[in-house]
Homo-oligomer: 134 residues x 2
DNA sequence: GGGCAAGTTTACGTTAACGTCAACTGGTCA
DNA sequence: TGACCAGTTGACGTTAACGTAAACTTGCCC
């Protein structure tokens, strides 16, 4: 039951397709905090989860700082009323921002779909011109 | 009818809340191409539209290069069959990427909603503790 | 025990996307 | 005419997010 799965740095690098340099960099920035066996890093389940979130944030276009802010919401430090109250407003802010970003992406997709339509129409016109030469 | 609206650099800067430096930088990178009156820049409707797309792309987390690629799809240069064929596959690629990005954002939002629930539950527990001291 | 792979630290390099001067050029308005 | 804009070019500075290279340690295999 105490079999907490661990990972080496190259385990994680392979699984998430990043370089070991990247992982060390994330640690340097305080985004990951592996324990040590001698001088070798040992990553646990939490680091695994955090890395996943970081990369998801990256794909979503967030900076590391923004990702960190979100990730830190997952394991809050204090446990008093004000803390949670504050965290709630933070969550709301982030969520609002993400949703507006989501709208922007939807608009971009919509725009591309119009381009696509104009494009296929143009292809049709080439295939069978609307106004034949008579 | 020929009243093509134009903008000065600070018109655009104001409207889109960016600095003039940013706009010049975008021109330098070939994303905008204003005409000139002497040495002063004159921006037209197309530049206006392009700037809007650039900033939308930015908010969506795209790099300038990625935005440029998308924007360039709006006014294709060639007009032959292969061009459109190629453009169509490009559009598809971009769209797929944007949609996966959209999924990542949805996941982030979902995650935050869980945090929110844990958070409000914790707040409730503080207000009226589940296990009273007996 | 010699070499090899995997890991470590330190340090400098790089790219994107601007910010921040500095020095100059026209207009215009009192 | 002189002062004050808005605008221009040019150059260097800055931050984020790693890449890359060098020099070293450690465990393991033959």
């Amino acid at each position: 039951m105490g079999e907490d799965k661990t990972y080496t740095i190259s385990d994680l690098a392979r699984e998430f397709a990043v370089t070991t340099r990247t992982i060390r960099f994330y640690e340097e920035k305080g985004l990951l905090s592996p324990s040590r066996n001698g001088q070798h890093r040992i990553f646990g389940k939490q680091d695994h989860a955090r890395l996943e979130l970081i990369l998801r944030g990256k794909r979503a276009g967030l900076s590391l700082e923004e990702s960190r802010e979100i990730i830190d919401m997952y394991d809050p430090e204090g446990d008093n009323y004000k803390q949670y109250q504050f965290l709630l407003t933070k969550v709301d802010e982030r969520q609002a921002q993400l949703e507006s970003q989501l709208e922007d992406i939807k608009l971009l997709i919509k725009g591309l779909q119009e381009v696509r339509e104009r494009c296929t129409r143009a292809l049709n016109d080439i295939a069978r011109p609307r106004a034949a030469k008579q």
